[in-house]
Amino acid sequence: MTAGITLSGVGKVYPDGTRAVTALDLQIEPGELMVLVGPSGCGKTTTLRMTAGLEEATEGEIWIGDRLVNALDPRERDVAMVFQNYALYPHMTVFDNIAFPLRAHGLRRDEVRARVQRTATLLGLDGLLERKPRALSGGQRQRVAMGRAIVREPQVFLLDEPLSNLDAKLRTEMRAEIAALQRELRVTTMYVTHDQVEAMTMGTRIAVMRDGMLLQHGAPQVLYDEPDNLLVAAFIGAPVMNLLRGRIERDRNGLTCVLGSGRLPIAPNGSAAELASYAGTDVAVGIRAEHLGEPSAGPSGRPTLQGRVRLVERLGAEQLVQLAVDAAAVTADGGPTESGRTAAITARFDAHAQVTPGELCEVAVATERLHFFDLATRHAIRGRD
């Protein structure tokens, strides 16, 4: 029987004073796969380890199902963990590795054999049961680590960057496998990774963390389409969202955004009201590459920005065009970048559009898809709905 995980006001301060996690509130529903994602040092692994019981939460409460587990040892929490480096027992065979947790709990020999066999078959490890970890490939070791977690049928799975030690191709394969496995087993899973592609593709919901704090959580698409925060906007999505510094001005047509030497009218949608209060000040403006395109595409008369083409990456199905525009760029923290007065933005062009590096080019902007962020608080500027 799986259980949900509730983290309520969870925080961690180390004895020397460093703070790893602050005031984390997160509810993971039974059966869902929640991905904790963020750059290294953001506290996601610490959160996972606190849930496992390997580290003590200095603040807050951790609930697994309806049990408060703060004071419980790992072995009493009924959780299973897959470690980043797999932590396979080097002196035991694959069979013994997977059997270990069952034997530790004193299960009968025939029961152990049956369960291990079932798990091995599920993960495609049948022929490898007598081998030692050193005789296995990276992908095989990863599956043994998963097997050891699955065989116990715990209430909760905790996965600590399980794919980061695999090569790119294997990683893509295993991503799909793990996601499928989780769906089939329907065990609540907390999955930690620094790779936002993994997060987007695997999670039922994702939670973005940075500097020990939870920035935003929700369905992947929601975080992609409506980031609450400049940091989330910059972290989610590839290629990275273009972030520029713009000034909001009021003119006879309504609100306009001034980006360097270009002007973009602001569409009169929900956030326009909020934006009005920023008239005369600078904000951070974000636009995704797919909302910038060649002028010929889309309805004519779209507002454009002008830039000089720096780089063209032909991907076959499309082209990623990098342009230098006369506007200031902004980093995820809201500060200026080193490039000063010129920013590089990336646009998705049709595969057959004619683009030459070095030439001047107009880029159409889907202004209804612009994101605006307060430079001081880094929060998204949005209408109340």
């Binding site: 390997l54 040892d73 963990m81 980043q84 932590a87 002196h91 270990f100 709990h105």
Partner: protein, 303 residues
């Protein structure tokens, strides 16, 4: 261009195109090996079969020296004592050392200080340590006084003067001095067990005893081999402590092969007889060490 040529000297070429380090550099080291180990051991083994006073010509006597050892009660005693002492020493020092290592491995706030304390005696002169303890075990010494003061005077005895307790008293001193060495070796082995594996056992639900039996102990096998071998060598060579505590007495109750080698050769001038003891010690050590090594390696391989 011609002007460049003198600046660049082509590297010396040997048969394989690679410059090899010449054996000449190793000559002092190898000479030491031969002159101080290989050759003397050969000669020593030869002298074991001779009768010799170290000055004049050594005469061949075949197995006579060994027959003398078998016949002489003191010599037989020395052999027996060496085995008893070495065996018990290896067992106790390793057992205590392992217990200390396990206890002081994690979590305790004072573990670094405690480790240093237990290891400190290892670096000190066994002779000096022997003298230190010889007072503690003396009839008017600390142990008896302590027993008297807590009402256990009936247990007081001449620890070093009583043939039945003398050898075991020496054992206590040796274990006190060298448990710290075993501890340090096991700590090194324990630290080789990755934290991840250790944490996996926590999450997998293993009780401490289960974890020890199934994960820690097997992974300590290499450290066990090294520690057992080193303590065996120390145990079989026991000399300094015996000299300090009892000098082989009382009534030869604590003579070991090492003390016999010294006294027979350098005190009594029986160089051939003394060499026989030395050969016996070398043979015993070789057999014991190889057996132990084979047993432990087989264990390691199985895991």
């Amino acid at each position: 261009m011609d002007s460049l040529r003198p600046l660049v000297k082509p590297p010396e070429r040997s048969r394989r195109g690679v410059r090899q380090v010449p054996w000449l550099l190793a000559l002092p080291g190898v000479a030491a090996l031969v002159a101080f180990h290989l050759v003397p051991v050969g000669f020593g083994a030869y002298y074991a079969f001779t009768s010799w006073n170290g000055l004049t010509h050594a005469s061949w006597v075949g197995l006579q020296n060994f027959r003398d050892i078998v016949d002489d009660a003191t010599a037989r005693g020395a052999l027996l004592h060496t085995l008893e002492l070495a065996g018990s020493f290896v067992a106790l020092a390793n057992g205590i050392g392992l217990a200390l290592a396990l206890g002081l491995n994690r979590a305790l706030k004072t573990r670094h200080l405690l480790r240093s304390l237990f290891f400190a005696p290892v670096a000190l002169s066994p002779l000096a340590i022997g003298f230190l303890w010889s007072w503690i075990f003396a009839y008017q010494g600390a142990l008896n006084r302590l027993l008297g003061s807590i009402g256990l005077s009936s247990l007081e005895r001449a620890w070093l003067g009583d043939p039945s307790t003398a050898l075991w008293t020496i054992l206590v001193v040796m274990v006190w001095q060298f448990s710290g060495l075993a501890m340090v070796l096991y700590l090194a082995g324990l630290q080789g067990i990755s934290d991840d594996v250790y944490e996996a056992t926590l999450v997998d639900g293993a009780s401490p005893w289960f974890r020890f039996r199934k994960v820690v102990l097997p992974l300590l096998a290499p450290a066990l081999t090294v520690s057992a071998t080193i303590t065996l060598i120390i145990g079989m060579r026991a000399f300094d402590q015996v000299k300090a505590l009892t000098n082989g007495g009382p009534v030869a109750a604590t003579e070991t092969l090492s003390t016999q080698i010294y006294s027979q050769t350098f005190a009594l001038g029986r160089f051939g007889y003394g060499s026989a003891f030395a050969l016996l010690l070398a043979a015993l050590l070789a057999v014991a060490a190889l057996t132990q090594l084979a047993l432990l390696r087989r264990n390691e391989a199985r895991l």
